[in-house]
């Protein structure tokens, strides 16, 4: 059974903004057990807990490339636009982003007021 080869968690990932916590088993850009995908940032990842396929991974979060905070990939905490930026830093530097991102951030602000039901 695959359970024998269960990856041991390296530690607990905790988002410094929303406090989401989950055990991570790898940090880096090359997720273990798959050669087909690389990540474009240093990511905290765990084996996808909702899949029985052990090659499937789930990116939990990464460091904000502006302030260095560890943040989750959730839409209320950070966004990725060629690099990870936490939402507070995005807002502080909103003018550095293209209009599409600016509009998107506006939308998120409104949405995060009510409990979002992300697909």
């Amino acid at each position: 059974m695959a359970s024998e080869a269960e990856p041991h968690p390296l530690g607990m990932f905790e988002c410094q903004l929303c406090a989401l916590t989950a055990p991570y088993s790898y940090v880096g850009q090359k997720p273990p057990d798959t050669h087909a995908v690389v990540l474009l940032e240093e990511s905290y990842i765990m084996k996808d807990p909702f899949s029985s396929d052990k090659a499937r991974f789930l990116v939990l979060g990464a460091r904000c490339s502006v302030c260095g905070k560890l943040v989750c990939v959730g839409p209320d905490c950070s966004l990725f636009y060629s690099k990870r930026v936490c939402l507070p830093c995005v807002q502080e530097n909103i003018s550095a982003f293209p209009q599409e991102i600016q509009q998107d951030v506006e939308k998120r602000k409104g949405a995060s007021k009510r409990p979002s039901s992300h697909p």
């Binding site: 916590t21 989950a22 995908v37 990540l39 789930l58 502006v66 690099k83 530097n93 982003f97 992300h118």
Partner: protein, 1144 residues
């Protein structure tokens, strides 16, 4: 796996590829939906080493996503041109290199390393490059989408966990546990305690956590849920352990297990060293085992100061649990229930008008009507009706279905434990739009089964509960008012998903008069099994055990007495060898005894099956009772010998069906009205029994498999691998999906409406079948099943003897006038209960003539005698497994056994008159024999056979107990009971059973039973009959009078209205051995024959005679070697004489 390609396909593809390079044309004709195009792309991107593999579920999801993306881009494409590309201003250096021109691709944090079609060989080369990049881009978006989706699930899970009422109390629970050894967590349904507390412990670093549940099903579902929530759904941190299944491994940190299983672990390791924390869930339900476990823990805790215990309870009687553990702290968590409106609708008026026993369904229909009138159909919400029992459910079901077919707004479904599993599952299906489910349930839906979407509850206020009458050893199913706690629980079912309404069909004043809590199980049930377990765990005298609430002393005494009678406890109430073995068998004492006895007589295989069959619920479905086709199909499996044999036949036939290829056992069962699930349970139980018997040396271990040729070995391995794969696929497929119910669900004839979907699913996997084949060695089972068909008459007789001895004293005698009664009016009497009837499922209920003695033989010798004093040698008794009282007292699972011989062999007390022509067994059954000489002989043989049987059993068990102490290794030792000894014993038992002695059988009247004995005699003359019953010394019986011959036989203690002096009449007789000629009474004559010094002695080589020392000389029949004809016989002395005369 790609399907094998046919030639045509390939041709077609080739043609396609020829065209592909001509790009202009391809651009026009390019079709993403073309299967060949897709296959080609899959060949390139979804190889086995890629993130998505072709043919997988993921692959299908991708294409679905792809189609949506295509449509989306098609809509968006024209607008894109109009957009004004903004010019972002430069910000801080960290963001200096952000790409200026926006592209959605920059928002994706991953990249695909897949093969570059331009550089790679193979089919990919022929794809147009821009299509490939388009595909790549879509794939990238898909992976990003999949990441977002999975992360969204994770975040949602955490949000939901955090929103549970108990989430605020997690730290407090952990903190309290740090400071105290025992903590009570009290919270109502929906507060999340069962799923969250184990996870808090896990997060706090505990790694040896056990959580007990009263029900097996809860262990499985909680392990699944907690595994999912703690993100180790596919890991092994969280597992469960129930009777036949375990997902536990060395890596398991939390295990959900049944209370019974934990108690067995304590039995093996009394200090429970394997656990750090023990969670005992649902303590408020007050199950027998839970109450016992609490008592054990209270004693254990001082010796295990490092063991932490969390008791989890609904907010019912919390102080009871807290104070039991020296005022353990309580963490009380509010529940999460939506407001529920309570409507009291007392029904007094109607109840007086209908005097019949049947429930009046009108109040229930009125609620259905009220709901229809008050709530628009588009407002969803189903109805749950609590009724007391199955009869009530079917009454309301009929009425409600009539109403439903009229209004087309309801689907009515029953829910109770006797339904087939498939029918039970229907309550989880969803009703079509505008239609509500109406679930008619017993109290099973109060705690055991949780159905979502219930908005309305109707509470009848009644429950049928099993109560136990220790005097009659009778289980009684009676209707009671429920407790306030149950009423609240029922009400709460309406408020789980939204605000609800609870209609109580009783008055508020009734509610106030309800008992606050239900009666704990320990006050309602037979305590035999509990006492036996307590004894085997050496917890001391059950009478002084510190139960949280003590059981009624009378039930305890009855249980102790019963166990003593059954030989499980000795006179000082210590566990006997048989008792300690019985304690390890997870079955009724009676069935455990059968197993032990059966294995001694080399009847292990059939007894294993029968014991398993008697330990599960009846596999016969109720609906099939009235179905003529089912009855006809079942007929060939029915046995005249009794229900256990019918079950035996059913199981064996089923195993045969299973082992035949391409035969559908599911269909086979359905046709016969058999619930297959029960047969699977039997197979599991049978296997467990077998292992237990092997562990205890009562059954030689599994024979080494016969050497097979490499081909069949390979074949077998291949089959197993295929089965494993099927099982995995099933597990990944997440099992059963909810279906939409049909409006006119024809519940009454569930067979027909199963036929449709089942035959459509003919090629789908029967996962039960797969699991069965993986778990069991079908070949072995089949061998056992086919050997069952070849049981000889003798084996069958022995088997019945084993069952009878196991079931004794659960015996019933047919009423004397049964032969004149209708089939349905047959009456039977047990010692404690008169006028019981056969359960409708009983085989004798359809053919009671099997039990009649009349007409089967000419017994007219005593022509003047009336029916009740019928002389016959074929009187039968019924040995039954249980006595159940519902509207009538029913005998359940009956076997017929020959009366005289069975009573002589099993009875705890046999009393005789002076010439032994009148016998009374256990003070309630009288047997009159015509011939006192044969009566004495039978008695003497019975005495001797019983002693030898008992001694063989004791030695067997004693040796087993010793071996257990010394360790398993010393198997080389010669067996305590030689096979030859058992063979001799079996042969002699069979001869005894075959004896044809006419007698009458009747139940004594109460008055007769009271004045049965002559009582102690003032003048005690020493009996002048040495050796009448072997050389046991006769001593005057202190209470009955007469003489105690053995622990069960009392000679000449019965009062008699016949001539007092008849026994003194002597006639002249000459002893054939010593030639003594003098007047003898019949008894004196037999006594002389037994002790005559000249009579042929028994074979000195027969070892059993030596072992059964006390009864050495008592055998009337002895091996006799005739020197004249050179043959061996088993003869009584008179037979020897007769034989010798032949040679003269």
């Amino acid at each position: 796996m790609p399907p094998p390609r046919t030639r045509e396909e390939r041709d077609h593809r080739d043609r396609h590829h020829h065209r592909a390079p001509r790009e202009e044309e391809a651009a026009e004709k390019w079709d993403w939906n073309c299967p060949e195009t897709r296959r080609l792309l899959e060949d390139v991107f979804f190889r086995d080493e890629d993130y998505i593999r072709r043919g997988s579920e993921e692959c299908q999801k991708f294409w679905a996503f792809f189609e949506r993306l295509q449509r989306f881009q098609h809509l968006k494409a024209p607008r894109k041109e109009e957009k004004d590309p903004g010019h972002p201003k430069r910000g801080i250096p960290a963001l200096a290199d952000l790409p200026r021109a926006y592209d959605a691709r920059y928002r994706i944090n991953l990249s695909i390393l897949g093969p570059d079609p331009r550089s790679c060989q193979g089919p990919g080369r022929r794809l147009p490059p821009e299509r490939v990049s388009e595909f790549r881009r879509a794939l990238l978006h898909y992976l990003d989408f999949a990441q977002k989706q999975a992360f969204g699930r994770l975040a949602k899970l955490q949000r939901e966990r955090a929103a549970l009422p108990i989430a605020q109390y997690g730290n407090r629970i952990l903190q309290t546990l740090k400071e105290h050894q025992v903590v009570v967590v009290a919270g109502d349904t929906g507060c999340g305690k069962s799923t969250q507390v184990p996870q808090y412990l896990l997060a706090a670093g505990f790694s040896h956590v056990a959580c007990t549940q009263p029900r097996r099903i809860a262990c499985i579902s909680l392990a699944k849920r907690v595994g999912f929530e703690s993100l180790s759904q596919y890991g092994s941190q969280v597992g469960y352990q129930i009777r036949f299944e375990s997902t536990r491994s060395a890596a398991t940190k939390i295990v959900f297990l049944t209370v019974g299983l934990l108690l067995r672990q304590i039995q093996r390791e009394p200090t429970l060293p394997q656990y750090q924390v023990l969670i005992v869930d649902e303590v408020h339900e007050r199950h027998l085992h839970n109450d016992f476990l609490l008592g054990i823990l209270r004693r254990l805790l001082p010796g295990r100061p490092d063991l932490k215990v969390i008791l989890m309870s609904a907010t019912i009687n919390i102080s009871l649990f807290s104070s039991y553990f020296s005022h353990a702290p309580v963490v009380q968590v509010p529940g999460r229930l939506f407001p529920i409106t309570v409507v009291y609708q007392p029904q007094e008026a109607e109840q007086t008008t209908s005097k019949s026993e049947k429930l009046d369904p009108r109040p229930f229909l009125r609620v259905l009507e009220a709901i229809d009138n008050k709530y628009p159909p588009e407002e969803r919400g189903d109805l749950l009706v609590f009724l007391s029992g199955m009869a009530e459910i079917s009454t309301v079901l009929d009425a409600a279905q009539a109403y439903a077919s009229l209004t087309q707004r309801w689907v009515v479904l029953p829910l109770h434990s006797a339904l087939s599993v498939a029918d039970q599952d229907k309550v989880f299906d969803v009703a079509p739009a505008g239609v509500r489910k109406c679930i008619l349930s017993t109290n099973i839906a109060e705690t055991s089964v949780t159905i979502d979407g219930i908005r309305f509850v109707v509470d009848s206020g009644k429950v049928k509960e099993m109560s136990y009458d220790p005097q009659a050893k009778l289980q009684r199913l009676q209707e009671f008012w429920i407790s306030q706690a149950s009423a609240e629980q029922r009400k709460g079912r309406a408020g789980r998903t939204g605000p609800g309404v609870c209609y109580r069909l009783y008055a508020e004043s009734d509610y106030d008069a309800f008992a606050p809590y239900p009666v704990p199980e320990i006050r309602r049930v037979a305590l035999d099994a509990l006492v036996l377990q307590m004894k085997s765990m050496s917890v001391g005298d059950p009478r002084t055990f510190p139960f949280i609430e003590p059981p009624p002393p009378a039930s305890l005494e009855t249980a102790i007495l019963y166990l003593r009678d059954q030989g499980a406890l000795d006179s000082s109430e210590a566990l006997t060898p048989i008792g300690s073995l019985l304690a390890q068998l997870p079955v009724d004492v009676v069935i455990g005894k059968m197993l032990i006895l059966g294995s001694m007589f080399s009847l292990a295989e059939p007894v294993l099956t029968i014991a398993a069959a008697l330990s599960v619920q009846s596999p016969f479905t109720r609906s099939a009772q009235s179905n003529l086709d089912c009855a006809t199909a079942r007929r060939p499996l029915e046995s005249d010998q009794g229900d256990p044999f019918t079950l035996f036949n059913v199981f064996n036939a089923w195993v045969q069906v299973k082992s035949e290829r391409n035969k559908n056992s599911r269909k086979w069962c359905r046709r016969r009205g058999v619930e297959e699930h029960r047969l699977y349970e039997m197979a599991n139980l049978r296997r467990q029994f077998k292992e237990l018997l092997e562990d205890h040396g009562l059954l030689s271990g599994a024979q080494a498999e016969a050497p097979r040729d490499s081909y069949s070995r390979l074949q077998q391995r291949r089959e197993r691998r295929a089965l494993h794969q099927l099982k995995r696929q099933h597990e990944e497929g997440a099992g059963r999906r909810r279906k939409v119910l049909r409006l006119q669900e024809d519940v009454g004839s569930s067979d027909e409406d199963h036929e449709g979907p089942a035959s459509q699913r003919a090629d789908s996997v029967d996962i039960q079948d797969v699991k069965f084949k993986l778990r069991h060695n079908l070949e072995q089972l089949q061998a056992a099943a086919s050997s069952a068909q070849d049981l000889t008459r003798d084996q069958l007789t022995l088997l019945k003897l084993v069952l009878g001895r196991g079931l004794y004293p659960q015996l019933a005698v047919p009423d004397a006038f049964n032969s004149g009664r209708k089939d349905t009016d047959q009456i039977f009497h047990t010692q404690a209960k008169q006028g019981t009837v056969l359960h409708p499922t009983c085989v004798f209920a359809n053919s009671p003539e099997v039990l009649h003695t009349q007409g089967q033989e000419a017994s007219g010798r005593e022509g003047s005698q009336d029916a009740k004093d019928q002389m016959s040698c074929r009187h039968q008794l019924l040995a039954f497994v249980s006595l159940l009282e519902t509207n009538k007292p029913y005998l359940v699972n009956c076997v017929c056994i020959p009366a005289l011989q069975s009573l002589l062999l099993f009875s705890r007390s046999i009393d005789t008159n002076g010439d032994c022509s009148r016998l009374v067994a256990d003070g309630w059954l009288e047997l009159q024999l015509v011939d006192s000489e044969s009566a004495v002989r039978l008695l003497a043989t019975a005495l001797q056979l019983r002693a030898r049987w008992e001694s063989a059993l004791d030695r067997q068990l004693a040796q087993q107990a010793q071996r257990q102490r010394l360790g398993q290794e010393e198997e080389a030792e010669s067996p305590a009971v030689s096979p030859r000894e058992m063979a001799t014993l079996s042969r002699e038992l069979l001869q005894f059973m075959a004896a044809k002695v006419p007698y009458s059988l009747r139940r004594l009247t109460g008055l007769e039973a009271q004045n049965l004995y002559v009582g102690p005699q003032t003048i005690t003359t020493a009996p002048s009959l040495p050796g009448l019953f072997g050389n046991s010394t006769l001593s005057p019986h202190p209470t009955k009078g007469g003489y105690a011959v053995s622990d069960f036989l009392t000679y000449n203690c019965l009062t008699s209205d016949t001539d007092l002096y008849s026994e003194c009449l002597r006639s002249f007789w000459t002893c054939p051995h010593c030639g003594l000629h003098m007047p003898f009474t019949p008894l004196e004559r037999i006594a002389h024959e037994n002790t005559c010094p000249e009579a042929p002695r028994e074979d000195p080589g027969s070892e059993e005679a030596a072992s059964a020392a006390p009864q050495k000389a008592s055998a009337l029949q002895r091996p006799y070697h005739c020197q004249l004809c050179g043959e061996d016989f088993l003869f009584t002395p008179t037979e020897v004489l007769r034989h010798r005369r032949q040679h003269v």
